[in-house]
């Protein structure tokens, strides 16, 4: 009898063990999930506490469409805004800068995203340029490089492969190793767009992370690369472009070449918009909004 019980216990334990082993991952997941939901609940509670102080319950929807380069910013802003104001739905589409501005002029969306300054013709049609953030790209070289300044043409020639030795741009006799990001990267898209060398750049190294570009340039003599301004450190040198240093101040002043504004265009001034859109812009210009903008690697305007 004893033995029988023992057998049953052994059997039970093995099967229990097996079940536990099988379900281990799923329980982990559910734990994580519950943690996550707890986290969001927490932040929501905090946020609710905050906005109860200064706003009534809002509901409605904001639509925006436009630049694919602004996808990250638009999504982050939309999500954060919807957490802050649970009754509001912010939807964003990414169809290109020009199409976005057209849509806002036509009145089909509230906000048109453009990753460039608005054209005069667009402004005449009633679009107002609200610069929310500025995207800055630094050109970096390794520390041993003696070149400290490049002109726009020199940069274009280097990336097109027409210039392949530093001696041709005033440096030492050292081949240029052209480092860049992989196809599809927003930084690469912006870099090539501003220099107008889309699909013409000849890279010898396509690296799929900002950190990778920094490491490759830092460790390779004669390398040149580009990264977002906010990740610069002293393992590499950021060269001046047309004599202008890559600093947030110069970028804000509009002197630095490799920068572009992220515009959220509206039809008419912000003050003429409905309450929701006004609050959205207020939010983007608040400290929280600025933190959001900086969290996606941009400079707040």
């Amino acid at each position: 009898m004893k033995k029988k019980i023992k057998n049953v216990i052994v059997l039970f334990l093995t099967s229990a063990l097996f079940v536990v082993a099988l379900s281990a991952c799923s329980t982990d997941n559910s734990k994580e999930d519950s943690n996550q939901s707890l986290d969001t609940n927490d932040t929501r509670d905090i946020n609710k506490g905050k906005d109860n102080n200064f706003t009534k319950d809002l509901s409605g929807s904001i639509t925006m469409s436009g630049s694919t380069s602004m996808e990250k910013l638009a999504n982050v802003a939309a999500e954060a805004f919807m957490v802050e104001y649970p009754g509001v739905i912010v939807s964003a589409e990414f169809i290109g800068s020009s199409a976005g501005v057209e849509a806002v002029i036509a009145g089909t969306v509230d906000i048109g995203n453009a990753s460039r300054n608005l054209k005069d013709s667009e402004k005449q049609s009633g679009a107002v340029e609200n610069i929310i953030a500025i995207d800055g790209i630094a050109v970096i070289v390794d520390k041993a490089n003696t070149v400290t300044n490049l002109t726009k043409d020199q940069l274009i020639q280097i990336y097109k492969g027409e210039v392949n030795n530093w001696s041709q741009v005033g440096g030492a006799d050292q081949p240029i190793v052209v480092v860049g990001r992989e196809s599809g990267s927003g930084t690469r898209g912006a870099f090539e767009e501003i220099l107008e060398i889309e699909d013409m750049a000849k890279y010898s190294n396509e690296i799929n992370s900002t950190g990778g570009v920094m490491a490759k340039v830092a460790s390779t003599e004669g390398a040149i690369g580009y990264v977002s301004l906010d990740v610069l450190d002293n393992s590499v040198i950021a060269v001046n472009l047309e004599g202008v240093e890559a600093t947030p101040e110069n970028i804000k002043a509009g002197d630095y070449l490799l920068s572009r504004p992220f515009v959220m265009a509206t039809k008419g001034e912000i003050s003429e918009q409905n309450d929701l859109v006004q609050i959205f812009f207020e939010y983007m210009k608040s400290d929280e909004g600025k933190a959001l903008i900086e969290s996606v690697g941009l400079i707040s305007a």
Binding site: P175, V177, G184, E198, N205, A215
Partner: protein, 312 residues
């Protein structure tokens, strides 16, 4: 005593139950692996085929230009496929002789004290994560290859300098990475050759070296071929290490060109790819998958052939 004998003394019914439950557990485990392979195959085919219809199989497989985000996108992966084939072939060319001779050394000629150092070293090599190989490649191999590149192409105005991130670096890293596979399998197949082969050869007056190359290696042939095929599998499927050292330009695989392998093509662009670009990346995965299946089929054939040899 009584503690250990329960299954013998226990009743027929309990014994029977244990047998049944154990059987079910084994079957479930076996089915799990099958299910995984099956679902991966289905998934690869489902996600890899839309781009083939959209872009055209010929344009993908035989196109030479890879510009997925251009205004007129082009999704040709011919150079990427060639890089994988040539890179793997060169890695085998370097890695296999070294690996097989190391195996001979370990199985035949090594003094015991030296083998006691080499064997654990080889096993350790197998356990090193591939990202470490990549980092060493960046820090040690790339600067060295870059110096070679600068010396060789000093007067060539058309060469695009890669800073050492090129096919040669990738091949060298791959050759080192396949060593443990080749060495371990070759060594065990050399050890599996019956003793009397060696004894007979030596008795006939052959020297030790003659015996190794004329008797032992031919007798262990099927095992060594298996080692090579597994090495090919490892090399063609490796992504992490070579994504760090190969440069990732979609160029023709010449030694000092920045090159992109099938694996790195998927890894490097998946994070931001959208729409057709993303679909084509899955198609590249499908191509890679086809290569792996081909290698496995070859492996199966080789192993079966080996059994026949053993039987006769």
């Amino acid at each position: 005593m009584s503690d250990r004998s329960f299954s013998i003394i226990g009743s027929y019914k309990t014994k029977n139950n244990i047998e049944k439950v154990a059987g079910v557990i084994f079957t479930l485990c076996a089915l799990f692996a099958v299910l995984a392979v099956f679902s991966i195959s289905i998934y690869m085919i489902i996600s890899g085929t839309p781009a083939i219809f959209e872009v055209g199989l010929k344009d993908i497989l035989f196109g030479r230009v890879w510009t997925p985000n251009a205004a007129q996108p082009s999704y040709g992966i011919l150079y990427i496929i060639l890089t994988s084939i040539i890179g793997t072939f060169l890695a085998i060319l370097i890695g296999v002789p070294i690996g097989v001779l190391t195996a001979v050394f370990l199985a035949e000629t090594a003094p015991r004290s030296l083998a006691a150092i080499v064997k654990p070293a080889v096993e350790l090599l197998a356990g090193i994560p591939s990202v470490i190989y990549g980092l060493l490649g960046i820090l040690v191999l790339n600067p060295f290859i870059y110096k070679m590149e600068m010396a060789l192409f000093k007067d060539d105005p058309n060469h695009q300098f890669t800073g050492g991130s090129n096919l040669i670096s990738a091949v060298l890293v791959l050759a080192i990475m396949i060593l443990p596979t080749v060495i371990n399998i070759s060594e065990s197949s050399l050890r599996a050759v019956p003793h009397y082969y060696k004894q007979a050869s030596l008795a006939l007056g052959a020297t030790h070296i003659q015996t190794i190359f004329r008797v032992l290696i031919p007798a262990a042939k099927s095992g060594i071929v298996t080692a090579i095929v597994l090495g090919v599998g490892r090399a063609i499927g490796e992504a992490m290490a070579i994504s760090l050292v190969a440069g990732n330009g979609a160029n023709f695989p010449l030694p000092f060109n920045s090159v992109r392998f099938l694996t790195t093509a998927v890894v490097s662009e998946m994070s931001y790819a959208t729409d057709t670009h993303r679909d084509v990346l899955f198609t590249i995965g499908l191509v890679l998958f086809a290569f792996i299946i081909l290698i496995n089929l070859i492996l199966n054939k080789v192993m079966k052939g080996g059994n026949k040899d053993g039987d006769s």
